[in-house]
């Protein structure tokens, strides 16, 4: 009897430190941030007088928060659409038994290994319009050279474009990841399916339209969730590439949270931004976690 008990307890003792650490540093801290968001802590000295949802109400009326929230939605939409379309296209093309597959794949994927800060520093120079559109540097200069001058713009320095220019850098870094996910998906489809379809007289386009694309739906879902949560909490890239930009045209909530909290010492307001960020990510992630784990049990 004693032996059985010991056998059950030892493994739990080994996993316990991790469980305790995660419960304190993830869930405990989230709870603490939640509390901070409900009090009146507005300078370096903590003030824990309860104010309810006052910080949240102020936040929703705050111009910079409204702009940064809207920016995140625009950023997420453009980033997701561009990465998924191009990622899928590249995966399909690479799968067409091409020469130098490895080389192409590695070229598309290597940006994934690099820090967002490096990406930000490099793209800040590439998308720098220079002194004026007539005296261009960076990408604008190339556009002039290849006869696409009409595409020239102020990029992130133009408040009308702002965050959309950051999407280019984010796309550069992450689209290869989507390509890799789709490629793994396509390669996982049993070849008998293609052969059967071809015997039935389906042409290549039909095979993609009716067999491959429907089978890739779970991958699209995965890509939407993974890229979506990365883009909702995007921070490093914007911080390094543009900062909050002219008229907050490049601002995102994660950056605003940092500014409020660690530059401005408005801890309670920073905490309320953090909680909103967390909730928006949780809405995306929790259903997906449940779905993934359920799918796993079925298998």
């Amino acid at each position: 009897m004693k032996k059985i008990n010991r056998e059950k307890i030892i493994p739990i003792l080994f996993i316990l430190p991790s469980i305790i650490l995660v419960f304190i540093f993830v869930y405990g801290f989230i709870g603490w941030t939640g509390i901070v968001s409900l009090v009146n802590w507005r300078d370096i000295f903590p003030d824990f007088s309860f104010v309810g949802f006052k910080n949240y109400k102020e936040l929703f009326q705050d111009y910079r928060f409204q702009v940064s929230f809207k920016n995140t939605l625009i950023f997420t939409a453009l980033f997701l659409i561009s990465c998924i379309i191009i990622g899928l296209l590249l995966a399909i093309l690479i799968d067409r038994k091409i020469r130098g597959e490895n080389i192409f794949r590695n070229i598309y994927l290597f940006p994934m290994a690099i820090s967002f800060v490096v990406t930000g520093v490099v793209w800040r120079w590439l998308l720098n319009p220079g002194p004026s559109l007539l005296d261009p540097i960076g990408i604008n200069m190339i556009l002039d050279k290849i006869g696409l001058s009409f595409l020239k713009s102020g990029w992130y320095t133009d408040p009308k474009i702002g965050i959309k220019a950051v999407v280019i850098a984010a796309f550069w870094q992450m689209s290869g990841y989507v390509m890799a996910m789709y490629l793994a998906g396509i390669r996982g489809i049993p070849t008998e399916l293609f052969e059967a379809a071809q015997v039935d007289g389906a042409n290549t386009l039909e095979v993609y339209r009716f067999i491959i694309l429907p089978l890739l739906r779970p991958i699209t879902l995965g890509a939407v969730i993974i890229l979506g949560h990365i883009s909702l909490k995007i921070f490093d890239l914007v911080f390094a590439m543009t900062g909050s930009g002219i008229g907050f045209s490049c601002d995102v909530p994660a950056l605003y949270m940092y500014d409020k909290t660690f530059r401005g010492n408005f801890f309670s307001q920073g905490a309320s931004i953090a909680m909103i960020l967390l909730i928006s990510v949780a809405i995306l992630i929790i259903p997906y976690l449940r779905y993934s784990l359920k799918a796993e049990v079925k298998r």
């Binding site: 996993i15 820090s115 490096v118 995965g222 993974i226 960020l277 784990l293």
Partner: protein, 280 residues
């Protein structure tokens, strides 16, 4: 060759150019001499290869108040190696328990652990700074090692759990019947066949801890302790630092993960796909 094949290759080549353009500018600019660097000529190939920019970016230039990246690069090394090893071992242990020594409630614990890898870290930064200040870990490399080890637990547990799930449980059951215990089975059976799991996990952790910016920024305000990504951002953010030094600094910062990608890309890929949960 058929026209459609030619178009196919043209598209692939077009995108290759897109992905390689920043690398071209990085390499060209950082290898130009100071005399040759100007923004108008940013797309030109260097006439003479020079490593001046790298030397300045690495060593700095005290007379101009320019901090080099050398110290911060080493900080990153000192912080990444222990944090990677610690989080990999924690992950291995957790994965072993979750697959081979299942207990009541483990199917609730696992998703709760997993959620930790998706949270925006902003939602834990305020208490984190408070706790680190109280424990004197704030502003130290030790503090950063601790933080990365803790927040690495979810992903390392996930990768090892997936890996150990492919190892037949009969092996473990047979050993149990032979009287082997928890530690004995880990040491004799699980650990010796864990190397692929360790490779994937450690490469993943090395890359993501090296590339981290937020924790470095918030937990290490002192420039002498900052990891290289934060130092690069400072270098690139000061207006008096020449463009070629910034590019050389960016290349120095990107180099370790790039080398890993080039030589161990296979394992890096697996970490990536595990992170998307597509392999759960």
């Amino acid at each position: 060759m058929k026209l459609s094949r030619i178009i196919l290759y043209l598209i692939l080549i077009f995108f290759s150019i897109f992905y390689l353009t920043p690398v071209y500018v990085l390499l060209c600019t950082s290898m130009k001499s100071f005399a040759e660097v100007n923004l108008k000529g940013m797309w030109n190939f260097p006439k003479k290869i020079s490593f001046e920019s790298f030397i300045q970016a690495w060593r700095g230039n005290p007379s101009r108040g320019l901090r080099g990246l050398s110290q911060n690069f080493m900080n990153s090394i000192y912080l990444v190696i222990p944090a990677t090893i610690i989080s990999a071992f924690l992950g291995s242990m957790n994965g072993y328990v979750l697959t081979k020594w299942r207990f009541k409630g483990d199917n609730i614990i696992f998703p709760l652990l997993l959620f930790g890898m998706f949270i925006p870290y902003q939602s834990i930064l305020i208490p984190l700074v408070q706790v680190l200040q109280k424990t004197k870990l704030y502003g130290s490399i030790l503090g950063l090692i601790f933080v990365h080890s803790v927040y690495g637990i979810p992903i390392t547990t996930l990768i090892f759990r997936n890996y150990y799930a492919t190892i037949p449980s009969e092996l473990v059951e047979a050993a149990k019947i032979d009287g082997a215990g928890f530690a004995g089975i880990y040491q004799k059976i699980i650990f010796p066949i864990s190397m692929p799991g360790f490779a994937v996990t450690m490469i993943w952790q090395f890359t993501s801890i090296w590339n981290d910016f937020l924790f470095g920024l918030v937990v290490a305000p002192n420039p002498a302790v900052q990891p290289v990504t934060v130092a690069l951002n400072n270098l690139a953010g000061s207006y008096f630092v020449e463009w070629n030094i910034q590019m050389a600094g960016a290349l120095i910062t990107a180099l370790p993960p790039l080398l890993i990608y080039i030589f161990l890309g296979r394992f890096f890929m697996r970490g990536l796909l595990a992170g998307s949960l597509s392999g759960v």
